[in-house]
């Protein structure tokens, strides 16, 4: 299989590591090899955090600028910051108001690179549904709705179910389903 490259970004404290683990676990359960790279150390709360995840038989954990298939960002600014990692024809999913994203200053570049972008206010949705800490899962669900890449929505939902401990399980799945639905509507609109 060709290696599929995910760049996941957000702010410290938003649960990038857990988001990476959800995608990784889903991939592992499908029998794929996985390789990831994380930020540790000085990255404090509120700092910019990035995680690379490669599904397939790569040797190097880092994704080259211009080589990522997907960029999932839990923060609007961080989505722009890591834009250079997306390859030509790559896809960007951001936690941002869909009518204001992407910034017009990046439009020409995105068009030139044939990069498609989709945005939803995942953090607001997660908070309204009772768990502001579940923005990471909301973004996974939103991404899942577009059915791109080696992991299906059913795979990802099952993984979220498996990885959400007792008291959070119902809320997390509720958030997953709602954000999946929002994504589905957008995907069908395209």
């Amino acid at each position: 299989m060709k290696t599929i490259n995910y760049v996941l970004t957000g702010l410290g404290g938003q649960g990038i590591l857990f988001m990476t683990k959800v995608l990784a676990t889903a991939a592992l359960d499908k029998g794929y090899n996985i390789l990831g790279a994380e930020t540790h150390g000085m990255a404090q709360r509120g700092g910019s955090v990035v995680s690379h995840l490669r599904i397939g038989d790569a040797r190097s954990s880092l994704i080259r600028a211009g080589a990522a298939d997907f960029l999932l960002s839990m923060d609007e600014s961080e989505a722009y910051r890591y834009l250079p990692y997306l390859k030509k024809g790559g896809k960007l999913f951001a936690n941002a108001p869909s009518n204001q994203f992407p910034d017009e200053r990046t439009a020409a570049y995105l068009e030139g690179q044939n990069i498609k972008t989709w945005a939803m206010e995942a953090a607001k949705t997660a908070m309204a549904m009772g768990s502001s800490k579940s923005t990471n899962l909301a973004m996974v669900a939103f991404y899942a709705a577009f059915d791109v890449g080696p992991l299906s929505a059913a795979d990802l939902r099952m993984t979220v179910d498996k990885m959400s401990p007792g008291p959070f399980n119902r809320t997390n799945l509720k958030i997953f389903d709602a954000c999946y639905e929002t994504g589905k509507q957008m995907a069908m609109g395209n």
Partner: protein, 619 residues
Amino acid sequence: MKEEFLLGNGAIALGILEAGCQIMTSYPGTPSSEILPEVVRFSKAANLNTSIEWSVNEKVAFDNAFAAAISGKRAACCMKMVGLNVAADSFMSAAYIGNIGGLVIISCDDPGPHSSQTEQDSRLMARLGKVPVLDPGSPEEAREMIKVAFDLSEEFQVPVMVRPAIRVCHARQNITYGALESNLTKADFKREPSRWASTPKFRLIQHKALNEKHERISERFNTLTPFNMHTLEKGTSYPFGVVTGGVPSCVVQDMFEEYDRKDIPVLKLGAPYPFPERLADEFMDACDKVLVIEETDTLIEYMLRDKHKTLGRLTHHVPMEGELVPEKIEGVLNKALSDCGLPPLSDHDCGTEAFTLVGGLDLPIRKPTLCPGCPHRASFYSIRKALPKAIYPSDIGCYTLGSNLGVVDTVLDMGAGITMASGFWNAYIQDDVKKPIVATIGDSTFFHSGTTGLINAVYNDSRFILVILDNHVTAMTGMQPSITQGDRVDGRKGNAISLETIVKGCGINYLKVVDPYDTKTMIQTVKDAADHVNDPDGGIAVIISRHPCVIAFKDQAIPEQIKVRVSDECNDCGFCHTRFECPALIQDKENGKTEINELLCAECGVCIQICPQHAIEKA
């Protein structure tokens, strides 16, 4: 068999136990910090009897492991690369003397640097200490190399270094592993003073024996596949080849596969020192030009010893500083191939256009900051308020971020907050100037390297205020337990060491303990301390600023949650978010006042005390 999506440091831990390591020591430091806790986790799960400790510093860790190894046990110590500087005295001597049981030193490098003072290359330390070194490129390879390192160390009776870079330590990979078994080798130290306590005359003999070992290890490294290998076709000559090792070797191999460049042979040196001469000669003889891509310095490039064929850092093809991220390596390869008249890998601009575009978007600068509620922030505020014109030497830990508050003037290395404070005093007092100096150091760093400097300063009558920031934990590197609490890494209780006793034992007569959350008292305490320093009969004043870390001990740190709000008195002076620099206080540009980010706010209430307009109040 079990499969885990394991951190590189977890894979290293697994390798350590699979090799039958019995004694494991370390001092935390990014990117090495997770190795020891992972050894604890695997050891406990398999019910092994591994002896595992956080040592007080890296030299202590090294010496402990060394003693175990010369008693016949397998021992390992791990540290970040600057930690090896602290252990250098022992490290340089160890290869001469050698060992009985396998001794493996894991020195984790931080090219970038992401979380370190330098980008030093541990392989060069290995060369200086005449210690064989292995350089893994991935978690799985690191795990395998650790086992080979133990075998080599035992066979040749020499310590062996494994040098994982940050992209190995903090990579994650799916790793399959089976049952772990105890190594039941008993300690059996055999007296042999001419070896273990050898005098200079014997050191010369040991040095000669070590050099002979190196000849044999170099021979072994010629055939140490798959760590050392090349992809030459027999009898073929090539216009261009790549010599690489460690993390960059994985990037290069991935890229050649992706771009289908079977025309470029690769010499991979995962075991670069002692240098595998014969293997390298084969490669050099078959190629007209070779490009060396290694991290972080120039070990292989010098060892190749052919100026006319070799491209690399010395020919400015490879950057001399910074991490060799994949897009950089792509650019390096494209340039070198073009220079040699060959087609490049790609016409990619290595992200230049996109990075330039993003650079122009005015994205928020997210520099690391102290956490909301961090007691260090309160300490720094009070220090500056009490003595705004002092010199502030500081040290290594979370509190290095006190630089954001303007209360950290210098950071050199572990313990230099104290030694530089005495140095500043001496430099000024020579000119008859009594310069106010306030040094800061954390509790863990004080135990690591602070006491020697303090004893020296007392002995030589230097004068300054030392504030020990005691938050009960080694926070920056991931909340390792502090000596002051007496908690050990495997959950057992050790003996807590009292900071007060140690400080007094260093000859300090003036010692105050304050809670930094009470800024009024702390400001007065710093002022009083300054009087003691200036008193002819006074001396060094030590203040222990004691408050638990808000992340490690949330309930203890904030016993009474104080919700705050901003009143109409706020005139948007910006002191609280720019100078006090609490991330939970943000400027609301529309309303021209400060706003509280309730998601971030730790509800410590300290901001009520610091607002110059008294506009922050209990909600």
